[in-house]
Symmetry: D4
Subunit: 218 residues, 8 copies
């Protein structure tokens, strides 16, 4: 078999498995969706699936909603928010929005309430500073930036909550496909910031959701 | 002046500022400690201060406890734990312990209860698996590894709480001074893992403490 | 001439030469196949040949079986297994299967018995641990992973036989086209693991086959 | 001869040559100082000269003032400011001050009026914002940062004058000896920012001085 | 909203905002142009917009002139030069001209008088030396090169004014997509040279224009 | 505790654990040796232990033989060879011998018969070709090279047995601390070659020993 | 103008200028050819020109012979060999031949007698050794390899004449687009070898031709 | 034995072997010198030997002249020049002279007549241009530079003979230990330039000598 579906994952980690669509054929995805549904999972997120593959999947009789901006599909209904607080998604520039959409959809899929502020790059710092209230209200912040790797650093200094930074591959030349932003974010001396992979809106939202659902085990 | 002490940081982010000792002279550190104390801060952490600099600082009349294994000094008493739960610090190998000590001290300084499991590298996976209970109990996990960048990946799959990964510079050759572990951790497809700088035990503990103190703002 | 066919290679190293199809035209491949057959080689493997080139080659009258998933062609029949034991091919994720197919076909072409376990990535470690029996039975293991460079490390700790690790270019961002997985595998402190080039399923299988055919020269 | 002293440089570019002390012996430096003085240059800057080499040079009878914090020596008197305006030197952290000292001394040596603001890193953005007046007044700004490559980006958005960014090697791990800060600064989308070599306080001040002395050729 | 248009930027920095067209849809660009015009901005530069996107934008009723060689559009009229002097744009080779066109258009858009000298690479140094007069006359020089990272270094030694270096991605192999030229330019020991991102003709012209418009604040 | 001694490893993988001495204090090593001996292990290898640490360890009453050239200590007697055949250790240059010594000692510690041929670099290929007999006789070959990454490639073409390549950090400049040799070896198209970490003589010998002890499980 | 044709180059360096076709339009090439011809140059080489651009150029009325395998055009006749001796072009694998064709055509264009030996990679060293005579006869050798960076190293040890090494971008994974071969060739300790850019068959042949035409100036 | 002395090398390549002293003990060097002398070699060059090792070697009774600036020893007399022409050694800066000294000594050891021009960096291009006569006279040029990787590029355009470029590790920051200069030199579009390893004055001189001794085999 091409996959070992991890149906106990929900039990083990409290969150059901998600399908990473990038390296898989529509047929493989359909097979995994089937296996998951048979194992009792009603809500399934399929990330990194382009429009063409989504169409193929639909033709195979798989029923799901396609979110074009997030390059993702959702089988079943999105849930009502059940986290402890709000996740704030910040982007530095308009071109980083594609990654933000993946983060927003994932966070909502996992039961979080999400706010979004775009184009808040630090090269015009007042555009960020005017959102002090959203920053103060957030339980977790996801800061997304390609050319302005500086964003999470500044946000980390303003916020009292954890910041998950997402470098993006947006830019050219010295951006090195996102590696420069990644290293700059990791290197930053702002406390309270940790980093996920380049363009990994999904991973940031997953981590933010885990944090937002911590119930306090003391 | 050589420093602008950020005395409002406690107000703004809920945590008092910490002194990064690495690039500063003993005299500079003494000056910053004085300014902070005058501004009312009673408990101060000084990270990345070697034994020699600590001795110089003591000779200047600064009163603090030196934690040699963590390469850090603490002005004032360490507080009682007041977080919501426990932070678990895991290391892959004995040589990663130095970084873990910085994380443990920082976490305790910030009011957290900490458990430590060393030498749990994945090349002998049963050494990790036998600690399932500590993993299940933790509110946040800090996973520290140099040669076995794999550790956070495996832990991320076992745990239901957020994992902060710390790559270390331990190793040789293809470890590239910790860059290999950093990239491997970021690249890993385990959900619920985010990463801080190489050897940055402080930063991992700081974010873990933020997470552990989230009170739920809903 | 564009090639010096190494017809004595079989005599010298015990294995006949293989054609690396990537940089060659169908015509060049046809020419080399002819030369090899004239030199008495009946079974020929052509790797890294895409569907279009395979079709061209067939049109030129060259008779061979095309294995689409492995991107390879085989002139003549695949042999019966004649190695000492079994080669186990493990993949971390479904997207690594393309590389595994090259490894499996090569290993079978070289006379080995092969078992395959897919999607055994360490982010859900129980999916690997449930295959303890296959691991114990193997004479050599080929561990293939892109995003979870950790796999060979964990396998190396579980197995009593040599492990050949194959990094893949599967992934994005910090995967650096497979370089991150390559360095992580080389850096790993699990003993008994050695590494071949990114996506080089062929090379791993070749090495595994050499090991599996060692007759003991003492 | 070990050097071809460029005595016409003053004529050609309007600024006299400076001695880069790093790779030269005290004897070589003494020889070059002599040649320059014989050619009529009265004021000479010797950069990157450590205390020990400075002492040797003094013992050889060379007369100059040593500026320990800037690791530089000055033969002759520092001039009165004769530029068009003020150069503002900003550092992100206390540990970046060493590089700033080289910039400040060089700028003063070249006839500029200089203001200095330290520890204005963006992780506590109010420490930068409170210096709005100095930023508005400056003719050129030199922004120096190692761990917070973000600084020039933010400053570039606040200032109406050119910003010269200097990455420093301060930091650890993902700082890659300053390369991360360098790439982040170059990658930044703030307009009006250009970059010099890592730790190159001299080069930044040199260009800032050129800008500050432009008389308007229209 | 997908963008926070920075309409106060003109007030704050003396230059109106520019639209970076690369990551934006024609519809997004149209929306931003509208918002800017409503805020009173009459002249707008849209960079990195290819012919196809420009056509779409025109079809949406947006009125602008398209400059194909510069891959840029201009809403409104280009202004008369109002800077203090002339900006000289130098390219090393014919293939670097595309980047030069972006620089020239940006500089003119920002009110500068511009001269252009192409194919002045240092491998035939007399082709550069014969332009001594243009070099002497310039208020700022923009030196653009991909394969001959040496150009700004040589120009920096010849000129009495600031030089802004632009590495280009022109070349192959060891050019590393422009990174080699970038590092070589930063590494160069010519004083008076600073560097912007690979292929960033816009950024160089912006910085050059700031310098050219400095009125002397003493 | 600072270590979890893996006493079942012998049972699990057929080889007892080895102590990596590099990041450990003499006291920690002594503690691990004690725990291992109490668990019944009589023969222990301690790698990467310099002369000074070895002396400290001896002073603590730990009894072992120190092998200075291999930077390693052996508790207990070296065993008689019990593998199936001979391991051939080849070095390219005299300076690579230090790594070879680690490989030779490890291989002997693990019960193998070892032959050594030094200074067989390919820049004088006859020095390699004259050792055809040793190459033909070997069951496994370890090829060690820093400046001449080519060695394993050539050996792989000559030998009928598996070749384990060890890149070394010997060299300067473009050797990039061994990374160049590592990548060159991985990149080589010689079949039957796999690679371990830079300077990892131990790891190469460990895998070679696994191969040499394969009993044939068919 | 887009180009400054270096018509004195022939006088200055003894070789006429060549047109690098890669970044230029057919119209630009036609213009440069015209200028050169008017300046009296009768034989012109145009490198890195693909079939489509060659066709466009021909349609513009430019008369030249197109060499498809070398991706180059020649205006005028190829000359009779007038060098001192023979240039030997060696390739490691069939896929490196494209680069070799550029080298061969360039060398012939510059008046050299050329011999070619393909597929002489060191993984089957006898295929190289059987060409001892050609190696002994050569005045200069050009050694071209992508996956087997080892080739020039071995050749350098066999030959008594200078060897120019050309790394190629042939390969995958750890070949890093030719960078691995480049670094390996530079790192090699074989004396008498120097290196040109990745895939730069032209540059190697140019250098080889200069060497082959040295008349002895003593 | 730790070395296989290549005594036939003189016969094979026309030049006797040289000892690379860096990774060898004084005792090993002494042993190799003895073996060479017994094999009839009277003149031996020992490169990369620091003062301390030279002293040890002398104490062992080995008789040789030590050249401190070149970090090299010479057994026997330096020969009279017997090449066809002159080798010109050019350095960009005073700090590059150490590498030049190795090149000069090696070239003289191999029987060449050598001229040296120092501090001819392109940032003051007239310092290079004033040496047109030496450039025109040379049979081969060795161009050595660290911070000004541009030098060989400019020289390549001025000279009619082959240029061997030597990048040096001189510099800081973006020089990347010499890698930047290496890549810039390789990337340069000046024809007639080839490159050796960072700091490899020996290798450059060796190839220059081969070129200078070519007798013309036509
Ligand atoms: N060990 C450490 N690693 C990284 N960042 C640190 C460390 N210790 C302190 N910091 C950060 O450095 C800031 C203080 O820097 P400084 O102003 O240079 O003392 C603190 O607020 C922390 O955010
Ligand atoms: N997919 C592959 N990846 C790496 N090496 C290969 C592959 N297929 C064949 N080879 C090697 O390439 C050699 C043949 O190369 P060539 O002479 O270019 O056809 C074979 O002997 C193998 O060593
Ligand atoms: N070609 C370009 N390269 C780099 N930065 C640019 C370019 N064009 C515009 N920009 C910058 O991008 C900003 C606008 O970005 P955005 O908000 O994404 O449209 C402008 O203010 C400029 O600072
Ligand atoms: N300074 C040097 N840099 C690079 N290669 C060298 C140097 N000195 C000697 N060699 C080479 O090293 C070979 C001898 O190496 P070895 O056998 O290790 O002494 C000589 O034949 C030269 O090819
Ligand atoms: Mg924007
Ligand atoms: Mg351990
Ligand atoms: Mg999976
Ligand atoms: Mg600070
Ligand atoms: Mg040109
Ligand atoms: Mg040797
Ligand atoms: Mg071949
Ligand atoms: Mg100089």
């Amino acid at each position: 078999g091409y996959a070992q579906v991890d149906t106990e994952r929900g039990v083990r980690t409290g969150v059901s498995e998600v399908i990473y669509g990038a390296g898989k054929s529509a047929a493989q995805i359909a097979g995994i969706v089937d296996a998951m549904r048979r194992a009792g999972q009603e809500r399934i997120l399929i990330t990194r699936m382009d429009e063409r593959k989504a169409a193929e999947l639909a033709e195979m009789g798989c029923s799901f909603a396609y979110h074009a901006e997030a390059h993702a599909g959702v089988v079943g209904e999105l849930p009502e928010p059940d986290g402890n607080g709000e996740i704030l998604v910040l982007t530095a520039g308009t071109s980083d929005i594609a990654v933000a959409e993946e983060a927003v959809l994932t966070a909502r899929f996992l039961g979080n309430s999400v706010t979004c502020v775009n184009d808040a790059g630090v090269a015009g710092i007042h555009r960020l500073l005017r959102h002090g209230e959203e920053i103060a209200r957030a339980q977790v912040i996801i800061a997304i930036a390609g050319m302005e790797g500086a964003l999470p650093s500044v946000v980390g200094g303003l916020a009292a909550c954890p910041v998950i930074a997402v470098p993006t591959s947006v830019g050219y030349g010295a951006n090195l496909g996102g590696l420069t932003a990644l290293l700059a974010m990791v290197n930053s001396c702002a406390s309270g910031v940790s980093v996920v992979n380049i363009d990994n809106g999904f991973g940031a939202a997953y981590q933010a959701s885990l944090i937002n659902h911590l119930s306090g085990k003391r």
